[in-house]
C-alpha cells in the first residue's frame, strides 16, 4: 500500500507568546511537526510495516520547513515532497487547492492528513482536499486496519466509535488519539539525511495567483478575556465541602 501523508510545520503551542498590535509574536521561534500529522505519519508507517508499501510525505512552506520534513523522514517515511511557498495569509481552502494540484497526477492508495493543525484548529483541509479530488474519506480516525484491499477505519463520532470500511483510493484524517508517534532513532535520523526530498514550486503545479486567493482571513488576534478570579476553599474537608455546596446553591445558583 502506498500512502502519502500531508504534514504541516506549526508553532509550538506551548511556547510563550505575546500579542502586539493584533499580531502573534513568539518570544522564541519554535516550530514542530503538527502533532496530529505526526500521528498520521505513525499510522501510515504501522500499516506499511504490516502490509508492505511505502510512506511518502508532502508539505508546503518556506525553506525553514526542512526541519519538519527531516523529522518525518527520520520517523521512517521514504521520500518527501516540498512545495516551496510562503503560505502566510492562506486559508484551509488555499492549502487544499495546492495539495489537490500536487495529487492530481500522482497515484496513491491512501492520503492521510492530521485531523486539524494544532495552531489554527480549523480541521478543514483534509475534507476539502478529499472533495477536490473526488475521494471518499473518513475524518477523526482513531484506529486503522487493512483488510482485503480496504481500510477499516475507526472514527470517533458524536455518539460512539464508528467502524467504517473505506474503499481505496481514499483519504483519512487522523486524530492524535490513534497512537503515540515514535521518537526517531539515531539510525533513523542518519538515514533521513540520504532520503530524497523533491522540491516543487507552485508554477510546477500549474497554480496561478488567482487560484490561490483565500476565502477567509484573520483580521487580528486578541487575548482570551480572563475569567473572574476564583476562590480557593480551605479548611477541614467536611466543612469545605459544605461551604462549596452552599456557594453552588446560593451564590452561583447552579444546583
Amino acid at each position: 500500500m502506498n500512502i502519502c501523508v500531508c504534514i504541516k510545520q506549526v508553532p509550538d503551542i506551548q511556547a510563550p507568546f505575546r500579542i502586539v498590535d493584533g499580531r502573534l509574536q513568539f518570544d522564541v521561534e519554535r516550530y514542530v511537526l503538527n502533532a496530529y500529522d505526526a500521528s498520521a505519519v505513525e499510522g501510515a508507517l504501522q500499516l506499511v510495516e504490516q502490509h508492505g508499501g511505502t510512506v511518502e510525505v508532502v508539505t508546503i512552506g518556506p525553506a525553514s520547513v526542512s526541519e519538519t520534513i527531516r523529522k518525518a523522514l527520520a520517523m521512517g517515511a521514504e521520500r518527501a515532497y516540498h512545495i516551496e511557498a510562503e503560505p502566510s495569509g492562506w486559508d484551509s481552502a488555499t492549502v487544499a487547492t495546492v495539495l489537490a494540484a500536487f495529487f492530481r497526477d500522482r497515484s496513491y492508495d491512501a492520503i492521510f492528513t492530521g485531523k486539524q493543525a494544532q495552531d489554527t484548529d480549523a480541521g478543514l483541509t483534509g475534507t476539502m482536499l478529499a472533495e477536490r479530488l473526488g475521494l471518499p474519506y473518513v475524518s477523526n480516525a482513531v484506529g486503522l486496519a487493512y483488510e482485503d484491499g480496504h481500510l477499516i477505519v475507526t472514527r470517533q463520532g458524536d455518539a460512539g466509535r464508528e467502524i467504517i470500511e473505506l474503499t481505496l483510493p481514499g483519504l483519512v484524517t487522523i486524530s492524535n488519539d490513534m497512537n503515540d508517534p515514535r521518537i526517531p532513532s539515531i539510525r533513523g535520523i542518519m538515514q533521513a539525511r540520504r532520503k530524497p526530498v523533491e522540491q516543487l514550486t507552485l508554477s510546477d503545479l500549474g497554480l496561478s495567483d488567482d487560484a490561490l486567493r483565500p476565502q477567509t482571513r484573520v483580521t487580528g488576534y486578541r487575548p482570551v478575556p480572563p475569567r473572574a478570579p476564583g476562590r480557593k476553599l480551605e479548611g477541614e474537608p467536611a466543612e469545605v465541602v459544605r461551604e462549596l455546596v452552599r456557594l453552588l446553591r446560593e451564590e452561583a445558583r447552579v444546583l
Binding site: D121, T127, T216, L233, P237, L248
Partner: protein, 327 residues
C-alpha cells in the same frame, strides 16, 4: 430577501440544544438584517421536528427524509446538506460544531463554493461575515472574516443561549427532493460502538463531572460515577484519564475531544493542561478538586478545593444527598 440557514441535528427525538443555541443567534441576526430565518432537518422522519422549531420563530423549514440519514455517514449527509443549500441559497449557513458537522464542513464548503469559518465562539453579519475563533489551544482569539460569499459557520456549543422567540411562527415547510443510491457508497458503516447507554450526552449536558489523572483506579472511577449520578450530570475525562484506561475515548474533553460549556463543570483530579482547558474554559461555573495547590486548573476555577479526591468526593456525594433529601 436573503436567507440565513441553520442546520438542526436531532438527538434522542429532539433538536440538540447546541443547534437551538445557534438558531437563536441566527434569529437575532436575521431579524436585524431583514433576512429570512430558515432551518433544516435531515432525518428519516424529519417532519416530526417541525413542531419543536416553531417556538424559535423560523420562517421556513427544509426537510430531507431518507432512511440512509438514520445514522451518520458523511457521503449522504454531505449530499443532503448540499441539496438543502442549493434549495435555500443562503447567504449564511450556521451549524453546531459537532463531530458530524466537522466531518462534512470542509467538503460541503468546497462543493457549494462557500467560505468556511469553523468552530467559532461568536459570529456576526455586516459588510462581511465575521467570526471569533479560539486558536492555539484556545489561548488566543482570532478575529476572522470571510472575503467571499456564501459563508458556512460552525459554532461551538455554549457560545449562545437558546431562547424561544417572543412569538412562535408558522413556518413554510419545504421537503427537499433527495435520492441516494447506497450502492454508490465508497465508505460504508459496519457498526457503531456506543458507550454505556442512558448516559447524558456530554455536549448537551448542564452539569459535567470530569475525571483526570488523579482518578487512579476503579474506586476513583466509581466515586466520579456516583457524584455524576447524584447530580444528573454527564461524565467527561481528560486525555490522561482515558489513556489510563478507566474511561472510553468518547468522553474526552479538550482540544482533541469535545468542546463543552455546561453550567457547572466539576474537574476532579484534573491538573488543567492547556489542551484540556481548551475544551472546557467556556463553562459557566468551574469547580476544581485537586491535591496539588499549584495545579493550573485553580487559575480558572470559580471554586477550588485543595484536597484528595478520594477524601473529598465521598463527602461531596453525602452532602448533595443530604440537601436533596431536605428539599
Amino acid at each position: 430577501m436573503s436567507a440565513y440557514l441553520c442546520y438542526i441535528p436531532v438527538q434522542q427525538e429532539r433538536p440538540t440544544r447546541a443547534a437551538l443555541e445557534v438558531l437563536t443567534h441566527l434569529r437575532t441576526l436575521a431579524r436585524r438584517d431583514g433576512a429570512q430565518l430558515a432551518a433544516c432537518v435531515l432525518h428519516p422522519a424529519a417532519d416530526r421536528f417541525v413542531e419543536a422549531l416553531k417556538p424559535y420563530g423560523v420562517d421556513r423549514v427544509y426537510l430531507v427524509k431518507h432512511p440512509v440519514l438514520d445514522r451518520h455517514l458523511n457521503a449522504p449527509v454531505l449530499a443532503a446538506l448540499e441539496a438543502v443549500f442549493r434549495a435555500a441559497q443562503p447567504a449564511l449557513m450556521a451549524l453546531p460544531s459537532t463531530e458530524a458537522v466537522k466531518d462534512v464542513l470542509g467538503a460541503l464548503a468546497t462543493r457549494v463554493g462557500a467560505a468556511a469559518l469553523p468552530d467559532v465562539s461568536a459570529f456576526d453579519t455586516g459588510a462581511s461575515i465575521t467570526a471569533t475563533r479560539p486558536v492555539m489551544a484556545a489561548r488566543v482569539l482570532a478575529d476572522t472574516e470571510a472575503t467571499t460569499q456564501p459563508v458556512l459557520v460552525s459554532v461551538r456549543a455554549g457560545s449562545y443561549d437558546a431562547r424561544p422567540a417572543e412569538s412562535p411562527s408558522e413556518p413554510d415547510v419545504v421537503e427537499v427532493p433527495f435520492d441516494f443510491d447506497t450502492a454508490t457508497l465508497r465508505a460504508t458503516l459496519r457498526e457503531v460502538i456506543t458507550g454505556a447507554t442512558g448516559q447524558v450526552d456530554l455536549s448537551e449536558a448542564d452539569i459535567i463531572v470530569a475525571a483526570g489523572r488523579g482518578v487512579r483506579d476503579e474506586a476513583g472511577k466509581q466515586l466520579v460515577e456516583e457524584l455524576a449520578r447524584e447530580l444528573g450530570a454527564a461524565i467527561g475525562a481528560s486525555r490522561a484519564a482515558i489513556e489510563a484506561g478507566l474511561f472510553p475515548a468518547s468522553l474526552q474533553i479538550g482540544q482533541t475531544g469535545k468542546v463543552v460549556s455546561p453550567t457547572l463543570y466539576i474537574a476532579v483530579g484534573i491538573s488543567g493542561a492547556i489542551q484540556h482547558v481548551a475544551g472546557m474554559a467556556g463553562s459557566k461555573v468551574i469547580v476544581a478538586i485537586n491535591k496539588d495547590p499549584d495545579a493550573p486548573i485553580f487559575n480558572i476555577a470559580t471554586y477550588g478545593i485543595v484536597g484528595d479526591l478520594y477524601q473529598i468526593l465521598p463527602l461531596l456525594i453525602e452532602e448533595i444527598r443530604r440537601i436533596k433529601a431536605e428539599s
